[in-house]
Symmetry: C2
Subunit: 344 residues, 2 copies
Amino acid sequence: MNLKTLAKKLQLSQTTVSRALNGYPEVSEATRRRVEEAARAHNYRPNSRAKGLATGRAMVIGHVIPASTQHEMVNPVFGDFIAGASRAYAAFGYDMMFTRVDDGDEEQVYHALVAKGSVDGVILQGPRVNDGRIPLLNRIGLPFIVHGRSSGIDESYGWVDVNNKRSFQRATEFLLDLGHRRIALINGLEQMDFAHRRREGYVEALKTAGIEPDPALMRSAEMTEVYGHRETREMLKMENPPTAILAASMISAIGVRRAIDEAGLTLARDVSVITHDDDLSYLRNGSDVPIFTATRSSVQQAGEILSRMLIEKIEQPDAPNQTHMLEAELVVGRSTGPAPEMRR
Amino acid sequence: MNLKTLAKKLQLSQTTVSRALNGYPEVSEATRRRVEEAARAHNYRPNSRAKGLATGRAMVIGHVIPASTQHEMVNPVFGDFIAGASRAYAAFGYDMMFTRVDDGDEEQVYHALVAKGSVDGVILQGPRVNDGRIPLLNRIGLPFIVHGRSSGIDESYGWVDVNNKRSFQRATEFLLDLGHRRIALINGLEQMDFAHRRREGYVEALKTAGIEPDPALMRSAEMTEVYGHRETREMLKMENPPTAILAASMISAIGVRRAIDEAGLTLARDVSVITHDDDLSYLRNGSDVPIFTATRSSVQQAGEILSRMLIEKIEQPDAPNQTHMLEAELVVGRSTGPAPEMRR
DNA sequence: AGGGAAATCCAAAGCGCTTTGGAAAGCGCC
DNA sequence: GGCGCTTTCCAAAGCGCTTTGGATTTCCCT
């Protein structure tokens, strides 16, 4: 069922049927109702490719996902993020499209995306420090919003980010207040901007307290459970082990806890742990009392805000770039306590 | 840059340029090279909507995701699954598109998808027992492959599934062999087909061993960490608590372990745990020795097989439906041991 | 009744591609 | 030189929609 045959059935021109369905005022209410009814009856939907060709709009938002280096897709954060984003997309009639890209081909892929006209805009996930994709997209002129920011990039761009520096600074201060002096940071990959900022916050809090950061207590890698476990086990074997650990995610924190358990130590009493909690649906930080003391910020919410902003940007490309900073909340759970030395 | 202007630049007709780029034999090697070079130089990509209009193919594969009941998207399994799928898509030039659907609107959405012509086929995720979407898609004639199966549906359809019944049967037998008699099942939502089958396997193993399944030991819900924790805590408080627990996923197993720890019990010694391990990238079952004894089956691999099958189905719609059964492997880790009673 | 504005509708062009049905050119061969 | 064949190219139709520019009808007002 297409416009032509529908119009024929209705004894109307394609123009009128099209206008009736798209809410133009040049058509009487009576015929509009008649048309709408017939469309429903015949299960008519305008072909999206034809519509796109005619309007120049795809009604699709792209997510370009680097395949190898950082496993954007398999990170559990991903699902919650796009779940949030999809809420806004659905509300505004957009679909979302994913393109997997091998590293190095990113520029190609963005060019292709705009040349092929398959998306109206993209969301830029996992920005790195000094991320070349931002100037690239600005140059190409494809509307985009960044999930996060990119230190070192001066040009204007829209973003939604958690105040990572501040939240890790506060978390560190909280541990310092509890008397901890040997505080470890099990961070994400530090080429990632969010990890970079978290480290800044951590280092700054230590320095303010007059403590020189110990490189042996600072780790960086992809935030898996195994990683959290391995680094913790190693550090607990040190002659001067940390009494507190800042973990980058719930998943790595779970690995941290496992290592602490295996070492025969007790969480909070022997080793305090603070993690960042993205408020993932399948990995809630406990039901009533939080399992971990954590800096919490919902990534679903970020996704929703972000996609709203992108849709606005697409519809008004010349409006100034918007930015949105989310403050993480420090929730105190059962994974932190006074430093062991303080206890005696 | 479009075909027309590119053709003009080359002093050729659109036809020839199109044929040259699409590998038709009616064009000399010399001109083909000339055309390809010019295309590269001008960064030309055929507009995908126009191409789709002309060919009737979208080169897009759809994933329709129910929004509320089962949070398909936020389940960490989702990311690994589509990471696997996207490998095949990328290799064959397909993009993937996601459509979020509120419950009840599914039929509408599938109809819309085929009417709008925005996808060439879909992957059906999270099939329930007796899932109406399968007959629906067969009726509509949209190519699809099911990730899993649907008990109670007799018509023919393509699927890729793990032998869930067998793997949970084996896991239960393994626990029985260790002397366990009180074995709990912390299952997924049992309207989901995979969970339904797992329960069958579990029940059958018990019955074969002459043990009547105890409804108080069988739980069913969405497989979150908090759920695993809560059910375990409850069951451990019973007057006749289980000595072994079958968990539905790594994430719920982590909750199970947390509850065991909190109860002051020791994993494997006091309570044995077996989980199903989807081999998620961020949640590997340990690095060397498996943390949990588990039935393991890579969901990434399933995704890749599935998407390959779907592409074949799209390209040869009349070929008979293929099916692919994956056997889960039972890996013995450090979460199981002889039943406590046996120890004395 | 007649003029002009408003309401309602339509034919046809155009979006950028593929593909059909031919045409023109080049070639060997009798 | 003319025939048939292959090679190489092209004009134009068509995919299904939106939208421009214009035609026709209706309605109101003087």
